[in-house]
């Protein structure tokens, strides 16, 4: 599908799941897979890394 930022093509693996992050190979923007129905995905901007993220 196309990057909502720069329109480049983002390849989403078949086994990707909702909640996973994909990055645009051209502009580097990160998107979260918000929903997935077969090969049709809805993307939303990924949250930026928070101060309390991680272990």
């Amino acid at each position: 599908m196309n990057c909502p930022e720069c329109d480049a093509i983002i390849k989403i693996p078949d086994d990707a799941s909702v909640g996973e992050i994909v990055s645009c190979p051209d502009c580097g923007a990160d998107f979260e897979i918000a929903s997935k129905n077969g090969s049709v995905c809805e993307l939303k901007h990924a949250e930026k890394v928070g101060e309390d993220w991680g272990e």
Partner: protein, 285 residues
Amino acid sequence: MPKVRIVFDRVRLEEKMLEEKAIELGHDTKMVDAKITKFTTASKKTEFDFGDVVIERCVSYFRGLHFTACLEFLDIPVINRFEVANNCGNKMLTSLLLKKHNVPTPKTYISFSSEAAIETLEKEGYPLVIKPIIGSWGRGVMPLKDRDTADAIIEIRELNDGPLDRIYYLQEMIKRPPRDIRVIVVGDQVIAAMYRTSTGGFKTNIALGAEPIPCEITKELEDVCLRASKAVGGGILGIDVMEDEKDGLVVHEINNTVEFKGLAKVAKRNIPKEMIEYAVRSAIR
């Protein structure tokens, strides 16, 4: 078969491994996105599909902690429990609990103003390691090697003026090999251990590029880690251990939402399987 739910806010390899294993073990398994879940004080358990047990796996500590509180409000079993998450998420609470339960841990100095922190450093001598009491992936952890560095770091803290920035947590610098040990404890068992060797700097976080190397689970390591787990309340935990040249093994941190993709590469036991089976056992107790 008990139903397993995995709460996430960002799906990483670990969450995918847990989901895959739970399905493989035959459990009705669903992923629950914390970001789109809503509770009210009038919420009832029956309004949700949280199954028989929830494994809380949010990457955001505070989101996960508060989500856990909501689940426990609904009497839903959660791994880890709120109390455990709270104890592990706050390095000061962890240190106090470890010491209270006679688990070897680095000597830690706690003060509540910049002036008191500087007094500690001047009295005890440099270096001491400064750590944010709540923080992750090694951020904000640094050795204060002299007064100039201490003044600079403390000045930055005062400028940031976050709600926890006035709590100063300073720890003795442990003389050790350039590595630490990450141990995964699940319930009353040590599941896996690895050395994390630093890539040249002071920190040994896998998230920062440290290389995972298998580590033998000795009786001493097992004993220290099980006692550390018990001190914070038990569950699924990642225990960080240093090899002090003087005092042997010391526990310096316990992680509540343990990342294990590095360790899974070198572990003999199947980490996600052990975690799912423990969660299910906890639910049917």
